[in-house]
């Protein structure tokens, strides 16, 4: 087995692919003839189990003597805990344990090591409505609720910080004593000379935008079942990363990592919200240790919203200087983020917010200022696209304003500034493959932009925006020299099946499927004979999990190496059996033949694998992947680094009801540069899903609070995710692309397609009505209000509905 290697350093013999057209998932697409298994829409490996209801999610698991646990949370946004009396709860029949901060480790945890600021349970103050105070374990769920009600907590209510724009005021209440002025994270980055660029510019414009608090709202609620037996802890969890859970749980309880086993079950979606510990694992572990019984804990829908870790609300000021041709000379991004009560993944979110703005357009001078502030609201974290989608919306809207002021077509200004391949951003990201120009041109052509722009009937508009995202973060979340990914393959003794062991984490996106395709391709085997064991810290090799769109490239690189190691050994044995030089043999889809005579099958994978087993024991392959050292030397330089970046352009066409402000999205065209495609159906499904989420955030979704900081809409009835009926026609297509840093040339797609969506809707509305809505979501009421303001400004009569004669009594 070779040392962990950098896939970027491997020779790449794969030819650049010919252009191919993709349409919708499920429709046949042109066969990729260069490969036997990848590039094909293989059915998902777990599809049957999921659609027949046989797949068991964490909440479906039952163990003998299992207890049910629930967490008591704070009803106040900010309050001092004066006393907690658990005696009545403990007396209730069926209650097996009641725990508070006195019964658990007091070590602070979090996910970003620079700011570990959470405790399993609050001891002095509660910091948001939903902060964790105590937990119970009972013989059934019903008893849990009775026990929670019986716990008496005396609070002294404190003034709360609910407005992030005033969180840093001198007289604002302090949330964490360690962070004066509620200043959680402050970033000041300066590249090139922005002031000089603005002086040199023919035109400088400043715009303000506001993003919205949104929530991932995965279908499956967070669940963890903890079993603490004989000093060892096993946790079944709906997690995006068994590794980080294992690491943080072991750290919290002072256990060696080897004594903590985290097993991912089937997971019903995460989108960033299930990457960090949820508190259920900690409370469940403590309860299991005390009771000696398995403890199942879960959040209900409202508790999920309170736990949150969704999108930050961002206040974004952008200033850009351009020359008279529209070339961007310099950009200043000045942002404030509402972080909520804890750090979560927010430091990375804050860096991502500004850092990713340099990707899709080339400019040398860039300044980024950011304050992430604490508020007494649920903590925000990483949501699909991490900190980047809102700033991308803001920048794409800002750029359209500039284009309009200069009289340049929105696509032209983007083409002029579009990033080229083999370039470096001002903040030192190395970009290899980049088909930004091709994406823009194709989006223009497939959407009929030239025929539509300026020629649509009143109320109709067309808009464009771009996006780019990492294919895996260059560095793990905590400092370690572990490789990013590793994999093992074990071929069965008779060669009729092979099992891939990987720590990669399938949360619904399909990584189990595409990694099995990659393993089969690398081994010369068939997908249908592959099995997979994944995301169990005891049986599978290390991988950091599902976040930062990393698994296709990073886990895939490890799987490719493992598969190639199997193939090398197999062909050596085949050579011995056939008395043929192994380097002249090839294996494809389980058939072994001479490279110069592919039509004559000499023997099979199965026969050779069986012989290998008889002679030498198990036929296995191993692989691992570590990226090269990436990024610059300035503070925060590692955030946003990646071996490869995807690029995308989206065009949307909307129709606006000019009286009600209702926005009907008619069509969306997504054109992606995501490198070589492993499974076209899953790729397009990712585009549809990302677009769905981006669309939800753009028009419908917003977590709202009452004046006391309590969530006003913690239900799927009032937190309005779009429904199937709200979806536009989606046209997902690709441009030919090959990424030298990825196995078989792959890049990410899962998060990147969320990035352009909000901006392209805003720009389409701007095109349709000439009004700009500068805060998300772009609700009908906001559009209605903007349209009325515009009519008033244009001197039109606007009837005032507040002044008419009233015939009713209140």
């Amino acid at each position: 087995m070779s040392q962990p290697t950098n896939a970027a350093g491997q020779p790449q013999n794969d030819p650049k692919l010919p252009p191919r057209e993709y349409t919708h998932p499920g429709l046949p697409e042109p066969e990729n003839k260069d490969y036997a298994v990848i590039g094909k829409s293989k059915p998902k490996i777990d599809a049957r189990e999921k659609v027949t209801g046989q797949a068991r999610y964490t909440a479906d698991l039952k163990f003998p003597n299992m207890l049910y646990g629930k967490i008591l949370t704070s009803p106040y946004a900010h309050a001092r805990i004066l006393s907690i009396d658990t005696s009545e709860a403990e007396k209730l029949p069926g209650v097996k344990a009641v725990i508070t901060h006195k019964d658990v480790p007091t070590l602070k945890y979090g996910i970003s090591p620079a700011r570990w600021d959470e405790n399993i349970f609050c001891s002095e103050t509660v910091k948001f409505v939903g902060d964790k105070v105590a937990a119970v374990a009972c013989i059934d769920e019903e008893t849990c609720y009775k026990a929670l009600k019986a716990i008496k907590v005396d609070y002294e209510v404190l003034p709360a910080v609910l407005d992030p724009l005033h969180a840093m005021d001198e007289d604002a209440p302090q949330i964490h004593p360690e962070y004066p002025r509620n200043n959680n994270t402050e970033i000041h980055q300066d590249f090139g000379d922005v002031d000089a660029a603005f002086k040199q510019a023919d035109y400088v414009r400043t715009d303000f935008f506001v993003g919205n608090r949104t929530y991932q709202a995965p279908l499956e609620p967070h669940t963890a079942t903890s079993i603490w037996q004989d000093g060892k802890l096993t946790v079944y969890s709906s997690t995006q990363s068994p590794h980080y859970f294992q690491y943080y749980i072991a750290r919290e309880f002072g256990l060696p990592m080897g004594d903590v086993r985290v097993i991912k079950t089937y997971v019903g979606g995460g989108f960033g919200g299930k990457l960090e510990p949820t508190g259920l694992e900690f409370a469940g572990a403590a309860l299991s240790k005390i009771t000696g019984r398995p403890v199942k804990m879960f959040y209900d829908r409202a508790e999920m919203f309170a736990h949150n870790r969704g999108r930050h609300r961002q206040y974004m000021k952008l200033t850009t200087g351009v020359d008279k041709e529209g070339m961007i000379l310099g950009v200043h991004a000045d942002f404030i983020m509402d972080g909520g009560a804890y750090t979560s993944l927010g430091i990375a979110s804050a860096y991502y917010a500004g850092a990713m703005l340099t990707l899709t357009y080339e400019f040398d001078n860039y300044r980024f200022d950011m304050h992430r502030v604490y508020t007494n609201l649920p903590a925000c974290g990483a949501q699909r696209g991490h900190g980047a989608p809102q700033p991308r919306y803001a920048f794409e809207a800002h750029l359209d304003n500039i284009a309009k002021d200069l009289g340049i077509d929105p696509i032209e200004i983007r083409l002029k500034n579009a990033r080229r391949p083999n370039t470096v951003t001002p903040n030192d990201y190395v970009v290899n493959s980049c088909e930004m120009v091709a994406c823009l041109e194709k989006a223009r052509d497939v959407s009929g932009w030239r025929d539509k722009k300026g020629h649509l009937p009143p109320g109709r508009g067309i808009g464009i925006a771009t996006g780019s995202f990492v294919s895996g973060a260059g560095y793990p979340i905590y400092r370690t020299d572990l490789p990013q990914a590793s994999a093992m393959i074990k071929v069965g003794e008779d060669g009729t099946a092979a099992t891939l062991y990987t720590g990669a984490t399938d949360i619904g996106q399909g990584s189990d499927t595409i990694l099995c395709q990659m393993a089969a391709e690398a081994m010369g085997y068939t997908y249908e004979q592959m099995k997979i064991v994944a995301a169990d810290t005891e049986t599978t090799p290390h991988d950091f999990g599902a976040y930062a769109s990393r698994q296709t490239l990073m886990s895939g690189a490890a799987v490719k190496q493992a598969g190639e190691e199997v193939k090398t050994q197999l062909l050596e044995t085949a050579g011995q059996m056939l008395d043929f030089p192994p380097e002249q043999l090839e294996v494809r889809l389980g058939k072994i033949f001479a490279k110069d005579n592919p039509d004559t099958i000499l023997t099979t994978f199965e026969d050779v694998a069986r012989t290998f087993f008889v002679r030498k024991g198990p036929l296995t392959g191993r692989g691992s992947y570590a990226p090269p050292k990436l990024g610059g030397k300035f503070k925060g330089a590692p955030v946003g680094t990646s071996p490869a970046y995807s690029f995308a352009a989206q065009v949307s066409e909307v129709e606006i009801d000019q009286e009600t402000g209702e926005v009907a999205v008619l069509d969306v065209w997504d054109v992606h540069d995501c490198g070589q495609v492993i499974n076209p159906a899953l790729l397009h499904a990712q585009v549809h899903g990302a677009l769905y989420m981006g669309m939800g955030e753009a028009i419908w979704e917003e977590v709202r609070f009452d004046k006391n900081g309590k969530i006003a809409n913690p239900t799927l009835g009032e937190y309005r995710l779009p429904t199937a009926l709200d979806m536009p026609r989606v046209h997902s297509s690709l441009v030919p692309s090959y990424e030298p840093a990825g196995p078989w040339g792959v890049k990410e797609v899962g998060e990147g397609a969320t990035l352009p969506t909000m901006g392209c809707f805003r720009n389409a509305i701007f095109d349709a009505m000439g009004v700009s809505v500068n805060s998300l979501p772009l609700t009908p009421e906001k559009v209605w209000s903007a349209l009325r303001e515009k009519r008033k400004a244009d001197g039109e009569e606007v009837w005032d509905p507040m002044t008419c004669e009233c015939y009713l009594e209140d």
């Binding site: 309005r720 009421e781 009837w799 507040m802």
Partner: protein, 290 residues
């Protein structure tokens, strides 16, 4: 989110059901589709000691046309049953369409028209079109049956005239009438599973281009569904035009007192009342019962 303990009864007849409700007192509640009461119970907003299921009262599921009386809809008819009913579609397609706009498909499969009315939320989708069409409701209690016009059925948010001790809503009657068109327009914030921000129903009797009679009922903009009588007066006896209907829309705004809440401000709702009153009138005038 846990259903608390309660006693459960499933009487076999209406008489048995009312007797049970009298015996058990106001802490007992009837259970029809359960899409409101069970959710309230799970959320701790209601804690009835007993639920009296009406599921065996199959005669209350019936939808029929009775000459001389009109369209009779049993209180236990589900929203999807009403949507799909040929009798409803034949006489008042607008009621079928309104039922289709309610909540989402899962709710429409379970929820009943009786439950929708008795639950009495101001944004309910069925009351506006039923009131516009002059519907009445019949309730049966220990002292016999009584019938009231639906427009006087609601007394406030979640309040109606039904007696909590033993009275059960049994049927809704939309009388035979000479209206030539009716419709319900719902403005929700997504295409399925959204409560109405504003709902406007209209019913008109046309004589050529002259509006003989009009009824306009507004939902989600007052504590109860409200008839915009002053707006109807503006157009009755006149030849319709877009300007006239706009005038009716503006007058209708005076017939509502919306609140500002998570789904919209009062100002926005008022302007929507203007827009949708005009559009709903035009649709009923030009397209019939749709």
């Amino acid at each position: 989110m846990y259903l608390p303990d309660f006693d459960y009864y499933a009487p076999e007849s209406l008489a048995e059901a009312t007797a049970l409700l009298v015996e058990l007192g106001p802490a007992a509640k009837p259970l029809a589709g359960g899409t409101d009461i069970l959710v309230k119970m799970k959320n701790g907003l209601a804690s009835p000691s007993a639920l009296v299921s009406l599921k065996n009262l199959t005669e209350l599921r019936d939808i029929r046309w009775e000459p001389g009386r009109g369209l009779v809809i049993g209180a236990l008819a589900t929203h999807n049953q009403i949507r799909d009913s040929e009798v409803v579609q034949q006489h008042f397609l607008s009621i079928s369409q309104a039922a289709h706009q309610l909540a989402n498909n899962q709710i429409r499969n379970r929820g009943t028209i009786g439950g929708n009315l008795v639950n009495a939320i101001p944004s309910a989708d069925l009351p506006p079109i039923l009131i516009a069409l002059g519907a009445s409701v019949t309730m049966v209690g220990p002292d016999g049956a009584r019938t009231v016009p639906l427009e006087s059925f609601f007394t406030g948010p979640s309040c109606c005239v039904i007696e909590p001790e033993g009275e059960i809503l049994t049927e809704i009657v939309i009388p035979e009438q000479d209206t030539t068109g009716s419709t319900y327009i719902k403005f929700g914030l997504r295409k399925s599973g959204a409560l109405a921000v504003v709902g406007v129903a209209t019913a008109v009797t046309m004589d050529g281009d002259v509006i003989r009679k009009a009824r306009i009922c507004l939902g989600a903009v007052y504590k109860v569904p409200v008839l915009a009588e002053e707006a109807a007066k503006v157009i009755e006896g006149k030849t319709w035009s877009d300007e006239l209907l706009e005038q009716a829309g503006r007058t209708a705004v005076g017939c509502c007192l919306p609140i500002s809440d998570i789904r919209g401000s009062d100002e926005y709702r008022r302007d929507l009342v203007r827009v949708f009153t005009r559009r709903a009138l035009k649709r009923a005038i030009t397209q019939g019962h749709v």
